[in-house]
């Protein structure tokens, strides 16, 4: 396949220019100035006016398989990923059973290979059953394809165990992804503690519940020299702590999610359970700080924290509803707003959605459109306006607070290993 005339944006090569890209045998065969590669005898995609990037990577998703296939399966989740422009995802371990043994990681990879829609990189549990008591087998997990360890969904409350986890992960060159939350301080909080929680009579989760644990884990990263990645950063205070840790030279990275720079706690008004998420949607000052953190590099990556739930968990009174929202199919559209608003350059945004996650997770070869690399790529129409319609989502779940939003820009073709896994009306 020959993709002609697209604006190629490849942060790894500091490339942002119209190019033709030839794919062969699942790899990138040629990358040349427009018109240099003959089109005869192969499919030609006329992509003038579109943007071609390395395949996007969502480094934080919940695919719910094994165990909760009624919410999502690896097949439906990766189909949602492909539609959203993602060629790879990192799957968090809070499945049933928890991914705390190599066989679960192998199962996930087999299911992903069978679906053939996106690469799935398992994240192994830090502790057995994510119970926070004893470490799982990081070495075996790495051999089985796990790219990081995390008890995501829960914090490691025991600071000694977290220290050991960081040290043990260092042994196998695995990053530790911290779900930073002090459970005692969260209590039975259900949304951001602020004026909205006060008026709705919903118990609050203070920003401090996240920040004290971000601070603890940054401190432990300094102590152990391990690679720490802070998941789903939601507060201004966390951004500042991470910024300072980086300035001090710690091996730290961090991600935020589109909902933290698209919505505030005001979205909970009316008790909308689709806006119930943990960490919670924060205040306007936090939202601004998240954008600033993305701009100045305190935050390295954008990941959706795609968390499917069915109506059984969401069509309930607010306090009974589950935390979480789906994001794979809206992540790119919401993130492109940052480019349209001038917060990030296109190249910066693409780095936060491909190159940086690939580097954090050590996904060699999946970060660039260099010749010889696997042909994982995303073709984006920056200016296509579309309306979010959960009824048309590939995900099994519908818990999306962006229903009805008009977004500008979406993936029009997603290619994994040279295979087109998603496309809509592009040139022939």
């Amino acid at each position: 396949m020959l993709i002609k005339g697209a604006l190629v944006v490849d942060p790894a090569q500091a490339l942002e220019a119209p190019m033709d890209l030839l794919l062969a045998d699942g790899k990138i065969a040629l990358l040349s100035p427009p018109g240099a590669i003959p089109g005869e005898g192969r499919r030609v995609v006329e992509a003038r006016g579109l943007v071609l990037t390395p395949g996007l990577i969502d480094m934080h998703v919940h695919l719910r398989e094994p165990g909760e296939e009624y919410k999502e399966t690896i097949e439906t989740g990766t189909r949602a990923a492909a539609r959203g422009g993602f060629t790879a995802v990192a799957a968090m371990p809070n499945t049933i059973p928890v991914n705390d043994t190599a066989s679960v990681s192998r199962y996930i990879r087999e299911q992903a290979a069978a679906a053939g829609l996106a690469r799935v990189y398992p994240v192994a549990a830090i502790s057995m059953g994510s119970r926070g008591e004893s470490l799982s087998e990081f070495g075996d997990q790495k051999e089985a394809g796990a790219v990081a360890v995390s008890d995501d969904g829960k914090p490691v409350m025991n600071s000694m165990l977290m220290r050991r986890a960081l040290e043990y992960a260092r042994t196998f060159a695995l990053p530790v992804i911290s779900h930073s939350e002090d459970l005692e301080l969260r209590g039975d909080g259900m949304m951001h503690e602020g004026r909205v929680s006060l008026t709705l009579g919903l118990k609050g989760i203070p920003a401090a519940a996240e920040e004290v644990m971000v601070f603890r884990d940054l401190t432990l990263a300094g102590l152990t020299g391990a690679r720490l990645h802070i998941a789903h950063v939601s507060t201004a205070g966390s951004v500042e702590l991470i910024r300072r840790a980086k300035a001090a030279g710690l091996k730290v990275s961090a991600e935020t999610a589109p909902h933290y720079f698209s919505l505030t706690d005001a979205a909970v008004r009316g008790y909308d359970t689709n806006a119930k998420v943990n960490p919670p949607l924060r205040g306007a000052a936090d939202l601004a700080a998240i954008k600033e953190g993305l701009r100045d590099g305190a935050l390295d990556a954008i990941a959706s924290d795609h968390a499917p739930h069915s109506t059984l968990e969401k069509d309930l009174e607010f306090e009974a509803a589950a935390f979480g929202l789906i994001g794979l199919e809206t992540s790119l559209g919401l993130s492109l707003k940052l480019v349209h608003e001038g917060v990030l350059s296109l190249s910066q945004l693409i780095a936060k959605m491909s190159l940086n996650p690939a580097r954090i997770l050590g996904l060699a070869g999946h970060q660039s459109l260099a010749v010889g690399a696997p042909a994982d790529l995303t073709l984006i129409d920056l200016n296509r306006e579309w309306t979010v319609d959960v009824g048309k989502f590939a995900s099994k779940s519908r818990n999306c607070p962006f229903q009805g939003w008009t977004l500008k820009g979406r993936a029009v073709m997603t290619v994994v290993g040279g295979k087109v896994v998603w496309e809509e009306a592009v040139g022939s």
């Binding site: 004026r195 006060l198 709705l200 009579g201 919903l202 008790y271 009174e317």
Partner: protein, 308 residues
């Protein structure tokens, strides 16, 4: 002025004009309860269902008496006797009740927002009889009626609300209600029981009971939930009572004609001394009487008359 609501979910949804309408309607309906035959046919043929997921004596009885005095049929579902304990969802329970064609559902629920959740699903009207930490609108309305009767006005008063504001839906509704009617609200309590951002609601915040009651026209004492002690909100009842319990000496700081209110049930000797609760400034029982009148008004305005 017309009352154009299907539901009464909170004071937040009401304008000052609508609150006046409810209060004047309540004032005119109050006389019915003093008749030898305490019944008018206004709501004959209407059915009011009360659905209570939390224990309550006075609110539930008050709604039931109000409905009966207007000749509505009433049906009560309590959580213990219902299928809620069998795992039926709130929405399913409500849909089942609605299938029996009631005109109004009065709900108390431990979850904030449960009444609004149901109101979005049901065709019949929904009245919030207290939801979680959110609102208790009919309590605030009866408080307003009581103050209006005692003071002849609702604007320009200094209202002190004292106690566990954080866990009080009554406090939230009263803050909104008194503020909307032009009074200045001061809240007081230990910092553990005053949630952050209270001052954003336009109230004065203090940790001194003396400061709160100084010059007050209205002093509203909230019930201290005794289980708060074990949860770290206060140390001991003795200390709470010493710092935040209303005693006769506090009345000397307030306006001479200040009134003392309490939504009940009382913890005598904890948040309020017996002398104050039973003293001449207390309008606590008048609140209960007005509760019936206000609920009659709410039922009438929501399902009485020929609405189209």
């Amino acid at each position: 002025m017309e009352f154009r609501h299907k539901d009464l979910l909170g004071i937040a949804d009401l304008s000052a004009g609508e609150i006046h309408l409810i209060l004047s309607t309540a004032a005119s309906l109050k006389e019915i309860s003093r008749r030898p035959i305490k019944k008018v046919p206004t709501l004959r043929g209407k059915t009011v269902v009360t659905l209570f997921y939390e224990p309550s004596t006075r609110t539930r009885m008050s709604f039931e008496i109000a409905a009966k005095r207007l000749s509505a049929d009433t049906l009560n579902l309590t959580v213990a006797a219902s299928s809620a304990v069998k795992g039926e969802t709130l929405a399913d329970t409500a849909h089942n009740l609605e299938a029996m064609q009631p005109d109004l559902l009065v709900i108390r629920h431990y979850a904030s927002g449960a009444p609004s959740y149901l109101a979005g699903k049901l065709r019949c009207g929904v009245v919030n009889a207290g939801d979680g930490l959110h609102e208790h609108p009919t309590q605030a309305l009866l408080d307003l009626l009581t103050v209006q009767e005692a003071k002849g006005r609702l604007d320009g008063l200094k209202v002190a609300i004292v106690g566990d504001i954080a866990h009080s839906r009554v406090a939230r509704s009263d803050i909104l209600a008194f503020s909307k009617m032009g009074s200045q609200v001061t809240v007081a309590g230990p910092a553990t029981m005053l949630p952050p951002f209270l001052s954003d609601l336009g109230v004065e915040v203090t940790h001194s009971l003396e400061e709160a009651v100084a010059g007050a026209d209205v002093i509203m004492m909230l019930r201290l939930q005794l289980e708060r002690m074990g949860q770290g909100f206060i140390s001991t009842l003795r200390e709470y009572s010493r710092h935040f319990g209303l005693a006769p000496r506090h009345l000397e700081l307030a306006k001479e004609d200040a009134i003392i209110m309490h939504p009940g049930p009382l913890n005598r000797g904890v948040e309020i001394s017996p002398e104050v609760a039973d003293g001449t400034h207390s309008v606590i029982l008048e609140q209960v009487t007005n509760g019936v009148a206000v609920r009659m008004a709410v039922l009438y305005l929501l399902i009485g008359g020929e609405k189209t």
